[in-house]
């Protein structure tokens, strides 16, 4: 399906990441958003509130982030494509409804423009400290898709992708921006609507009497593990609950139902990992050191990579455009070949924990932590690359 041209601002613009994210949402078909003001994410819904009455849709500013994060889900079940935006403190409040969306398989996108934390932290300054919160923040076990843009142009593109993935897999999807990317203004090219691919809602075509809300093609080889959706008001009279439920959507408090449901929720993402994971690689094949990072930190790291190369260190780049699910297989492949991974992040070490786990001691992993508030100095990352290059191969971590 192609984007609705009425909502696509085709042309070349000078936008910040927040504004570009909003344009991505509109292009992807978002026609309902709810939000609560919080720096540095608010510009996204400020723009949405201005644009949406001209496009045909609704924005509502709710009384808090709990309300915003569940209002979008009500709208999703009435047929709208939806998203909300926030930053650290609001993200914490939204956790309950991230779990609700995962459990009820409600397509929705959560944008987190990360700022320094914990608590109120640094409202106007960057960090990447919510990466593990995105992955594990709500209680219970659920899979996660999180994308991390490194420029306003990519905020536009990845917001569309996040909305599309949410529809395809009926799961909450996270766009994990950061304050730098959100507030950074650059050239953003918005293509013609007909070249923007938009994923339609997976609506059921079954008659109400034949429809089971959480039935999937589990037993069919290659069948979809994502159930088809009905929307309210069309006579399906379906039930949706955050309780553990069977294929009818009815609560069922048994270990068997829990097993079946949770395994399917994981499997629907797991079996499609190859399609979900998007990476950007540069000179990883011949590298002795590979820098693994995401978002704004990768851009800064790229300067360090250039410096390292001029020093004669064969340095590769692996940018996690999809952070979750983690590109485990690719990292494992590289782990057997390179002397070291250097993992800079604007946090005290989050995604690096997963890189270490996946690497399993087969190659050295060098953390380059940063408490946030600004970006790394390229020299800090360069220093880590140098240390990596001096690793005696086979010595491990």
């Amino acid at each position: 399906m192609q984007a609705d041209p009425r909502a696509v601002l085709t042309g070349v613009h000078f936008l910040n990441g927040d504004q570009a994210c909003c344009e991505g949402a509109l292009a992807a078909g978002a026609r309902f958003a709810a939000g609560y003001p919080i720096t540095p994410s608010t510009e996204i819904v400020e723009r949405f509130s201005k644009r949406i009455p001209l496009v045909g849709g609704v924005f509502i500013q709710m009384e808090d982030e709990l309300a915003a994060s569940i209002a979008i889900q009500g709208a999703a079940w009435a047929g709208k494509k939806v998203f909300t935006v926030t930053s650290g403190p609001g993200f914490s409040l939204m956790m309950e409804h991230i779990g609700f969306a995962a459990m009820t398989e409600t397509p929705c996108v959560f944008v987190n423009v990360q700022r320094g934390g914990p608590s109120t932290g640094l409202p106007t300054l960057p960090a990447q400290g919510d990466m593990m919160q995105a992955r594990f923040g709500s209680h219970g076990d659920y899979p996660c898709i999180a994308l991390s843009p490194d420029s306003p142009q990519e905020c536009f593109r990845l917001m569309i992708r996040a909305m599309n993935l949410a529809e395809e897999f009926r799961t909450p999807v996270f766009l994990m921006m950061d304050e730098v990317v959100g507030h950074m203004t650059e050239r953003v090219e918005i293509p013609a609507a007909e070249s923007i691919e938009v994923t339609p809602r997976r609506l059921t075509e079954k008659a109400p009497e034949d429809y089971l809300p959480y039935e999937t093609e589990t037993s069919k080889i290659g069948g979809s593990l994502t159930p088809e959706m009905a929307i309210a008001g069309e006579g399906y009279k379906f039930h949706v609950t955050g309780l553990t439920h069977d294929e009818r959507g009815y609560p069922s408090m048994t270990p068997e139902t829990q097993h079946k449901l949770i395994h399917r929720l994981f499997a629907k993402i797991d079996t499609a990992k190859d399609r979900i994971i998007e990476l950007e690689e540069d000179h990883t094949e011949e590298a002795e050191v590979v820098v693994i990072s995401y978002g704004i930190t990768m851009r800064v790291a790229e300067r360090a990579i250039q410096m390292a190369r001029t020093e004669g260190i064969a340095t590769g780049k692996l940018r996690l455009i999809t952070v979750w699910p983690l590109a485990e297989e690719r990292i494992r492949e590289l782990a057997g070949r390179v002397k070291a991974f250097v993992v800079p992040e604007l946090n005290m070490g989050q995604v690096v924990l997963e890189v270490e786990r996946v690497t399993g001691g087969r190659t050295r992993v060098i953390r380059v932590p940063h408490a946030g508030g600004t970006v790394h100095k390229p020299e800090q990352i360069l220093e880590a690359i140098r240390r990596g290059a001096m690793t005696v191969q086979g010595a491990g971590a």
Partner: protein, 203 residues
């Protein structure tokens, strides 16, 4: 080229930087990355924006050593002039900034932009006057690109006023280049012609 424009809230610092970035990124086909610092106060507080202009993709988004600093307040000048690199350019609003000792090896250009804007009829266009001046001096973007960017950023009924403001700033800059001591306090101006072509990634 790493550029910082700084002043106090309400002077149009952010808009000026945005216009310059738009001129570079959209009308001149360069890469431009703009960032800005936010304070909790909406008006009157220190305000600064940074713009990196290059013919290659911009990686590091912040100014490390400024090629150009446009300081529209005393505080901005005091705070940011030390980051101007030797050979760099410092442009100040001469009625609002008093400079004891210009930084070593930095060319200084002054303009009473606020006064000029008032003479044009509206003080608010002082940022556009300043932008014209800075563009003429640094050559960071083309004059046509700048005019296009200004006109796309201001409401239609203010187009004429802004065009005049821009022309006044550009003219003052050109005059200043032709005659470095034409009523302005200026320092040495080494390699300014080269500045026109120096829009590339800072080392």
């Amino acid at each position: 080229m790493e550029i910082r424009i700084a002043g106090f809230g309400g002077q149009g610092v952010i808009l000026a930087t945005q216009i310059l970035g738009r001129a570079a990124a959209i009308h001149d086909g360069l890469h431009a990355t703009m960032t800005q610092s936010f304070g909790p106060e909406a008006r009157g507080g220190a305000c600064s924006a940074q713009l990196i202009v290059s013919d290659e993709p911009v990686l590091y988004p912040y100014v490390t050593r400024a090629d150009v600093l446009v300081a529209m307040s005393q505080e901005a000048c005091t705070k940011f002039s030390p980051e101007v690199k030797p050979g760099g350019i410092l442009i100040v609003e001469q009625d609002l900034v008093r400079m004891q000792q210009p930084p070593d090896g930095v060319s200084v250009f002054c303009l009473p932009a606020t006064r000029m804007a008032e003479e044009l009829g509206k003080r608010v266009v002082q940022n556009i006057v300043m932008l014209g001046f800075a563009t003429a001096i640094t050559g960071v973007v083309g004059e046509e690109a700048l005019e296009n960017a200004v006109l796309s950023a201001v409401p239609g009924h203010l187009a004429d006023l802004n065009r005049k403001a821009l022309a006044a700033g550009l003219e003052a800059g050109r005059t200043c280049l032709r005659n470095p001591s034409s009523g302005m306090e200026t320092g040495a101006i080494p390699g300014l012609a080269a500045g026109v072509a120096s829009a590339r990634a800072p080392a």
